[in-house]
Subunit: 429 residues, 2 copies
Amino acid sequence: MLESKGYQGGSLEFLKSNHVAVGDSVKILAGITYSGIIMPRYEHSDDQHVVIKLKSGYNIGLEIAKIEKIEKNQTTENITQTFRQITKKDGLPKVLLLSTGGTIASKIDYRTGAVTPALTAQELNSSVPELSEIASMDAKVILSKYSENIMPEDWVEIADKIAEFEKSDYSGIIVAHGTDTMHYTSSFLSFALAGFPIPIVLVGSQRSSDRASSDAALNLIGATKFITKAQTKGVYVVMHQDENDNTVACHIGTRVRKNHTSKRGAFQTIGDNPAFIVGEEQIQKNINKEFFSTKDFQPRIKLDTKVALVKYHPGYDPKILEQVIDSGIKGIIFEGTGLGHIGKVMYGSVKKAKEMGIFLGMTSQCVEGRVRMTVYESGRDLLSLGVTPLENMIPEVALVKAMWVLGNYEDSEEIKKIMLQKIASEISN
Amino acid sequence: MLESKGYQGGSLEFLKSNHVAVGDSVKILAGITYSGIIMPRYEHSDDQHVVIKLKSGYNIGLEIAKIEKIEKNQTTENITQTFRQITKKDGLPKVLLLSTGGTIASKIDYRTGAVTPALTAQELNSSVPELSEIASMDAKVILSKYSENIMPEDWVEIADKIAEFEKSDYSGIIVAHGTDTMHYTSSFLSFALAGFPIPIVLVGSQRSSDRASSDAALNLIGATKFITKAQTKGVYVVMHQDENDNTVACHIGTRVRKNHTSKRGAFQTIGDNPAFIVGEEQIQKNINKEFFSTKDFQPRIKLDTKVALVKYHPGYDPKILEQVIDSGIKGIIFEGTGLGHIGKVMYGSVKKAKEMGIFLGMTSQCVEGRVRMTVYESGRDLLSLGVTPLENMIPEVALVKAMWVLGNYEDSEEIKKIMLQKIASEISN
């Protein structure tokens, strides 16, 4: 069957006349030689390009006019995989793998070309047979979503599911998650499950797990080693440390950010080294302190999404802030400039927001460093208008914390107090 | 005269009984010994603290109950400075210094405690006598504003002033500027003055220039050396490379970001080394390419501020985007997640915005790396909704560029074309 999904006109003719189709593994000569799989077209309806997925996992569009030759590869890639049945070994620590979707749990359907979050947690587990040497893995699917579509309601669902295992015999819980918003989810779990007795480790991958270049296996193995050997608790994000395949970094779940769109070492601890580095043979610990300031597990799995993140910039129209205020918002996290400033043009709206009882917190769009609002006139003005400086909390983390605080506390003094109280290492020294 | 500005109750009593006052240089024993100047109080009206400004330039609040001893320093700091008259040497290259305000042009008034952007360009010049050995400096004040209060209208004023010197005998122009939004201003100048025949160099400082720890002198000297010796053109931000006093970094004005709230090496080139490093004796060049793609200077000093920067996050209320759209906006720059995604919950509003003819551009909140919207379903969905992926443009730069493009072009196809066209190195490989 000739598949030509999305192709039309010139490009459809081109495929037909060369006896190739969507899903075929091909070699294309166009200046240099490209090898990859013909992908369906989703984008604009231009008919002058053929799109192939390279081994790197990325797609490339090639102009038909520049293609000298296209032919099917003799040995096509093995596109179906049979997952092994894992035999559990006795005596190994138990680890629970919860899958929410994302690239780590996705595979390419070579007939439709879509990368979909379709692997079950069991398949994910089975696709990395090394795991069975380290731990006895159980696996469950909670969600199948790319993380750009994970909503605060999903955070609650994930936290509720984890909370069920408070008194289990698991050594820790791995949450397979898309990388786009993994640091938002890790922040919520850090606050909602403060004091949880076993480590919670979010793991993602930047390349889908049925590709040779995938980082999924190393990240999963690293996370499992970390859980079984580091003897710690807390919420962590575990990902490749850099572009090498030697080490994974364990980042504190409230101090981490996705700082690169595509690199495997995209996740970084802000302003510090990662809390742990997991190597082939040993685990290096870089922190002395406890992750949670509270020792007793007392889940608070509620939130209120009526919080806005307002990134100030020259030309920011204060009318937009007015509309945010009038929309029934209960908290605003400013991403100010420098030490925590916003232009005087915003003061009128800030004053109004304060009078309406809205919590106002200040972070910095610099990302690194601490806000200090007593140094300059602008900072002092904003302090006197009632804006709370949030130390060195990362803006995204401050947003999630505000949603959590507003969902669990009502008194405005208490809200301010808890926002500044270190719950899960979100403020560092 | 006993100055006690802002102090009341317990803290006022404390100052009085110890015969010290605001503006005094004091030594305080409170566990360890602090030395600094007593500052007025601006913040909350608590009466249990005394605030002093340390030599580092930062303020610290000390709890009265913990102060064992407070005494005036015998040798008080020299708080007034007489600026030397600079004798110009013949034969040196000419450099123009335009001051807009900011910490680099500020000093502390020790009687009121305020740090104000008050130094004139001439004072700034005279306060760094080394400059007269390198160049013949002329100086003018354009504005006296901290950069959190610099507005797009100010960018236009600065650009207009610089454009007057197109056919001058200056080797380059230094713009002294606050650091908070310096990278926004440098972006606008890069687009508005594309092809300008001499280098334009923005210089700031993280500590005010009458403090010993100030970085103002090294940054100014570095900028002047760079202008007179690097034989280049373009718009650059010149700041300390790191916490050492050995080198300054010259960053491409469209590839730079303030990435730390307080460090002297806060400015960084995103995804690359700084274009030039100026050391004591030599200048290291790290780039081969030209700054401007255009060779001829053809100023386009207009802008339209009807552009919004929308940072997507889980829980972003699409109603806020609707309000932005309905406010008469002409362009939206999304700060998406990962490779350039926003949640499906936003699609309805995106579609509406497109139908209204609003330019929609995608950048990534990861800051580093390139958006690629053909890899995942979400990206492809957004492409088909008419969102333009803006390569590896920094979100803040994309915002400024959109203001500039919308101020100078009307046709929607042309707007999209210019947004993707490399004008001033804002897109890199």
